[in-house]
């Protein structure tokens, strides 16, 4: 009930459309009900009784009614379509804006496919209810009642005779609906399975070919393909067992009415015109019965969809703009972690982190996969909230910062590089859409991306991303670095962002960055010693705790984890070095 009320909330701004549509629909149905009456008069008065001069007026009435029903129906549908489309527009754009406010945690928990199906399938379900559901229920009910009354006035005996048959149709339709729905779902799922298998086969083609596993792949594909055909046939089977017979039940109503008519005409109580008229109503009595299960289905589906949608709407953004949001006049990038704890679900990810990074300093973070390195840097932009302790940027706790200005000061190069299907230039200025080409090129130069961009078919206007030209891992990473440099951030985060770049290029990038971001704070996560050894501070994380800290020199002297890592990585290099000398 609550859900229905909320769906009503979506329709409410378009009340005028709704009411106008209902009025128009009433006119349509009354006109439709009157039509068989005219046929009756034509047959009775004009043909049987010979009042031929009445024919033309009746014909004009018939055409007039047709135009009236057609016109009103058309207007009604346009009103309802506009209403439903607008309500959907509101819902979808609203939800999208809402999703953009969601913390990272939300996207960790909900997969893109899941949100997509919500934004397309479920929204469409609700749209369907708004566009057809309301009016459909009203129309069928009114038609049924109206046809019933009109038929009763013509011949109550025939009406009751026909009425006795209709529940049977409703029951059949109901049973059919119940049985066919799970089958439809199976077909959809099997389609998805086949889709996945094909997609994987194509994506992993080099592995398939490398191991000459084509026969195996074909066997797998054919199995699922046959299964899909079989499922489709199951639906056909069910369909063929029900639908034709529902149709005959409907058409059997006519001979039954005729039988009744026969008995009555013999008694002389029924005009032939009435008989013809009654046959015009039969379908109006039968059709609502056939539609009943569909309507019930549509409403229940729409309500389920709406419940899902509202769940997302209610999923409040846990990270909100603080009430007395502050923003420093000028960001310097002074970062202080003070006994910060952070847990994800029930798992402690960061424990008692204390760390200070002064403007202009470079902090390098090392540690094994899963030790909490990435989490630590995402706290800076308040993509997650810390649980206890405090994290201050330029003296203000991140939870007191106005969110968007804060994030604008952070150039974040993520571990998994994502580029949009857009030109390279627009990708680089993603955080600063109005930035001029001059600056785009300068940022690309810092990231050592100029050379490969110049080699692309359309240079900076080459479309990349999923729907564009594929870039190599290293090229993507360099573009992402340019994107971060472009916003001229106070704090730069490099999360394992040169892993696919060869050492020489990485060295050059570092040199350039040093130049451009002279007094900015830099956080760098890396595995290669060469990437981190020049940092002002190096911290080694182990299981969410800072296991070691210092700079290259002090840590080497200490001879701990860091020292071991350096030794492992240098061993081969040192050997080479000796040989070179």
């Amino acid at each position: 009930m609550d859900t229905i009320k909320r769906i009503w909330g979506l329709v409410k701004p378009y009340k005028k459309h709704l009411i106008g549509g209902l009025i128009l629909q009433t006119i349509v149905i009354v006109a439709m009900l009157v039509k068989p009456y005219i046929t009756k008069f034509i047959v009775d008065d004009v043909i049987t009784k010979g009042l031929y001069d009445k024919l033309i007026p009746f014909c004009i009435m018939l055409l007039g009614l047709t135009v009236l029903t057609g016109g009103c129906n058309f207007l009604r549908s346009v009103l309802y379509e506009r209403m439903s489309q607008s309500a959907m527009w509101d819902l979808r754009t609203g939800l999208y804006a809402h999703l953009q406010e969601m913390p990272y945690e939300f996207f960790d928990k909900h997969r893109v496919g899941e949100i997509m199906s919500l934004m397309t399938g479920d929204i469409d379900g609700v749209r369907h209810l708004i566009a057809f559901g309301i009016i459909h229920v009203y129309e069928q009910a009114l038609r049924f009642v109206g046809a019933f009354i009109f038929m009763m006035t013509m011949s109550w005996q025939i009406t009751l005779l026909v009425l006795a048959l209709t529940p049977l149709i409703a029951v059949m339709a109901w049973v059919f609906n119940k049985k066919v729905r799970p089958l439809f779902r199976e077909v959809r799922e099997q389609n998805a399975t086949l889709n996945t298998i094909t997609q994987e086969n194509l994506a992993g083609m080099h592995v398939v070919k490398a191991y000459a596993q084509e026969p195996y792949e074909e066997e797998r594909f054919n199995k699922e393909n046959q299964k899909l055909a079989d499922m489709h046939l199951k639906v056909s089977w069910l369909w063929s067992s029900f639908v034709p017979f529902m149709d005959i039940l409907g058409s059997l109503c006519t001979p039954i009415a005729l039988l009744g008519g026969l008995l009555l005409t013999i008694n002389g109580t029924l005009d032939i015109g009435t008989m013809v008229g009654v046959t015009g109503y039969i379908w109006m009595l039968v059709d609502p019965m056939r539609q009943l299960p569909n309507i019930i289905n549509m409403v229940t589906n729409a309500v389920t969809s709406a419940e899902k949608l509202f769940y997302y709407v209610d999923f409040g953004a846990s990270i909100k703009e603080p009430e007395n949001a502050m923003s420093p006049k000028e960001f310097k990038g002074h970062v202080v972690f003070d006994h910060v704890n952070f847990s994800y679900g029930h798992q402690m990810v960061l424990k008692d982190i204390c760390l200070e990074a002064k403007p202009g300093e470079t902090v390098a973070i090392m540690g094994a996969t899963g030790s909490g390195k990435s989490t630590l840097v995402t706290l800076l932009g308040r993509f997650y909230d810390i649980h206890s302790g405090s994290l201050k940027i330029d003296g203000i706790d991140v939870r007191q910062h106005s969110i968007k200005p804060l994030r604008r000061q952070i150039g974040y190069v993520m571990q998994e590089t994502f580029l949009f299907s857009d030109t390279i230039a627009d990708n680089i200025r993603y955080g600063d859409p109005s930035g001029d080409m001059e600056r785009v090129k300068r940022s690309a130069k810092v990231a050592q991306a100029t050379e490969f961009i110049d080699h692309m078919p359309q240079g900076y206007d080459t479309v990349v991303g999923e729907r564009g030209l594929g870039l190599s891992g290293g090229q993507k990473q360099r573009t992402a670095i340019a994107r971060a440099v472009m916003i001229d951030p106070a704090i730069l985060i490099l999360d394992d962002s040169t892993s696919a770049v060869d050492m020489e290029t990485e060295y050059q990038i570092q040199q350039e960055l040093k130049e451009v971001l002279k007094d900015r704070t830099t956080f760098i996560i890396a595995h290669r010693i060469s990437s981190v050894k020049n940092a002002d501070q190096i911290i080694v994380l182990d299981n969410g705790e800072i296991a070691e800290r210092g700079n290259h020199k002090t840590l080497m002297e200490k001879g701990g984890i860091y020292y071991q890592m350096v030794m492992d990585q240098m061993s081969s290099a040192v050997k080479v070095e000796k040989e070179v000398q």
Binding site: T48, L55, F58, L62, T66, V67, T69, G70, N73, F74, Y96, Q100, Y104, R111, M116, M119, N191, N201, L202, V208, K209, A212, E218, N222, N225, Q226, A229, L233, S236, S240, P244, F245, I248, S251, T254, P255, L258, L262, I266, T279, A368, T369, G381, F383, R407, F418, F420, S421, D422, P433, G473, D496, D502, M503, H527, S530, Q569, S572, V576, E579
Partner: protein
């Protein structure tokens, strides 16, 4: 300002009818000739029983008019019987026709998939996986209508129309001709208006898929959006995309909803015409009423076959587009195929010979120039050199993903082009830089290297490449479900799994494109150990990035500008003053140790 959305679908939605391809498609129905024939017969019966109904109705009314009763039971009984016969025929027609259509479609899809499996890499280079996926799934699906209903329906509908005209003419030809005045109008609405309708709906679909594409990408990149504070611009874009959908939808729905009233009005004009002129006949003979009603009812049956015909016409256009796309792929011959007299490769030792090999991907730019070498079984070759120098091309030619433009590649003295592809690849393992993980268990992923391997063998292989430990630490060990996306495996772990996969295959020749990505030191050590195990006793070609791998190689090829510039082991090459290899090593060392 809203961002311009890149269009995703640049494919033709419709194509003019192509008879040749249509006939080719029909061949898939051939095995089901009998079923189609039966269905045709059943449909004719169902159609006839449907057409007889108004006739019997009108006779019944005629009987009632004169209050005659003796024929009524027959007429009513006939109506019931016809209804049942019609339903039964329809039932079996749906079953047979659908099963024929679906099976034919499944065969077509199998053939298409089979063909794609046989294609070489140059085919996949020029086509995106997404587009191929659409061929196999959507394009084949879109032929369903044509297969299951389209063709048979058209035959039946043409028959229905002819039959209708004959019956009506027989009853009263004058009135029939009057009533048929509406036909031109009806045809106009059904063919012309429907056409516009269809084009508009197509537009809605295109707009919708644009929105889907945008949304999907936007959700995938939401972290970037939030990090770079682009929410407001994205909101604007999304709003305008949705407004596009709304306005195209309203355009489509407006014409759509005019369709039925127009049809209805046309029908009623026909009815009124028949009444007006029919009255003259009634004046002469009151009993003509039954015939009059008959003509009116039959007139009402005209639109349906015409409607299906127009639907068929429309679906034929889009089916042709799908058909052409499917056949385009099936007509593309793989440029790497077994020769007629290709021999299976006997168990090999692993000698690899390149004889004056020249290669070009596009026949314009030469990637490899006259490369020759001969590698004895069991040796490890490290390929080093700048990106684009031709390292990958050498291994691609060796695994016969491409054929050389000139010269020849031989294994144990056999020219690759004379061998059966499968028999050759079975004795070889190729590992690309980006490891692919299939969705399934870890066990299944490793077993992909050799399908008949036992669980013990799989575990043994995992142990040898030091993957066993981390696998056992996963929630369900070897039975843990993994997949390509959202996988819980780290880069290093994925590599170890692919090593195990290769080891299980126990190839005589191993090709490895070493990953550049840095991996945490612990896993890094594991991988080095695993590599040693993997490379032992095999002829191996490694596109190497690790110094240790390079150092341990029996021979290092420095590839530069499509040629092997230097050849020799580490000790030999490092001594070449001013050599490429020497300067490469120096540079690496400098980055490692450079201070400030």
């Amino acid at each position: 300002m809203a961002r311009v959305i890149r269009q995703l679908d640049d494919e033709a939605l419709e194509k003019p009818f192509n008879k040749q391809q249509f006939v080719r498609l029909l061949r898939y129905m051939k095995p089901y000739k009998k079923q189609v024939g039966f269905s045709l017969v059943l449909m004719v019966i169902a159609m006839a029983s449907g057409l007889a109904n108004p006739y019997l109705m009108s006779r019944a009314i005629g009987e009632l008019q004169v209050k005659a009763t003796e024929n009524m039971p027959w007429i009513l009984g006939g109506m019931v019987l016809l209804a049942i016969v019609g339903a039964v025929c329809t039932r079996y027609r749906i079953r047979w026709m659908d099963s024929a259509g679906r099976r034919a479609l499944a065969t077509l899809r199998e053939d298409l998939f089979h063909h794609i499996q046989g294609m070489s890499f140059s085919f996949f280079d020029t086509r995106s996986a997404g587009k191929l996926l659409v061929r196999v799934i959507n394009d084949v699906n879109s032929l369903n209508d044509l297969f299951t209903n389209g063709i048979v329906n058209v035959l039946i509908d043409c028959m229905t129309i002819v039959l209708l005209v004959i019956i009506m003419m027989a009853v009263n030809w004058k009135l029939t001709l009057i009533g048929m005045c509406i036909l031109p109008l009806l045809i106009f609405i059904l063919f012309k208006v429907k056409r516009i309708m269809r084009l508009r709906w197509q537009r809605v679909r295109v707009k919708n898929s644009t929105m889907n594409g945008y949304l999907h990408e936007s959700l995938t990149g939401m972290r970037v959006t939030e990090a770079f504070v682009r929410e407001d611009e994205n909101d604007d874009t999304f709003r305008s995309v949705n407004s596009d959908i709304r306005s195209s939808w309203m355009k489509a729905v407006t014409i759509n909803n005019l369709f039925w009233p127009m049809l209805d009005l046309t029908g009623n004009i026909g009815t009124v015409l028949v009444y007006i002129f029919g009255v003259e006949f009634i004046k002469a003979d009151p009993l003509f009423l039954a015939d009059l009603l008959l003509i009116i009812w039959y007139l009402g049956r005209f639109w349906q076959p015409l409607n299906t015909l127009s639907n068929f016409y429309n679906s034929l256009l889009s089916a042709t587009a799908s058909m052409e796309r499917i056949f385009e792929i099936m007509d593309t011959e793989s440029d790497i195929q077994d020769k007629e007299d290709a021999k299976p490769l006997p168990p090999i030792k692993g000698r690899v010979t390149f004889e004056n090999v020249t290669f070009s991907y596009d026949r314009e730019k030469t990637v490899l120039k006259d490369v020759s070498f001969d590698i004895a079984p069991g040796n490890t070759i490290a390929l080093v050199g700048p990106t684009g120098a031709g390292k990958t091309t050498i291994v691609n030619l060796l695994s016969r993903f491409y054929d050389p433009t000139e010269g020849s590649v031989k294994i144990d003295g056999y020219d690759l082009r004379d061998l059966q592809l499968t028999s050759m690849r079975k004795q070889m393992s190729v590992m690309m830089q980006d490891t692919f993980i299939f969705s399934g268990t870890i066990m299944e992923n490793i077993r992909y290297g050799r399908l008949d391997a036992t669980d013990e063998e799989v575990i043994e292989a995992a142990k040898t490449v030091s993957a066993h430990e981390f696998i056992m630490n996963m929630p369900k060990g070897y039975q843990t479900e993994v997949n390509e996306r959202g996988s819980s495996l780290s880069q290093g772990q994925r590599q170890l799994i692919s090593f195990a996969r290769a080891l299980l295959n126990d190839p005589k020749i191993l090709i490895l494109d070493e990953a550049t990505s840095s991996i945490d030191t612990r896993t890094e050590m594991l991988i080095q150990k695993a590599l040693d195990a993997l490379l032992k006793n095999r002829t191996s070609f490694v596109i190497a990035h690790r110094l240790s791998t390079i150092r341990n190689a029996d021979c290092i090829f420095v590839v530069q500008d499509g040629k092997i510039a230097e050849k020799g082991n580490h000790e030999e090459l490092i001594k070449l003053p001013g050599g490429h290899y020497r300067s490469l090593c120096e540079a690496q060392y400098r980055f490692m140790t450079a201070d400030e």
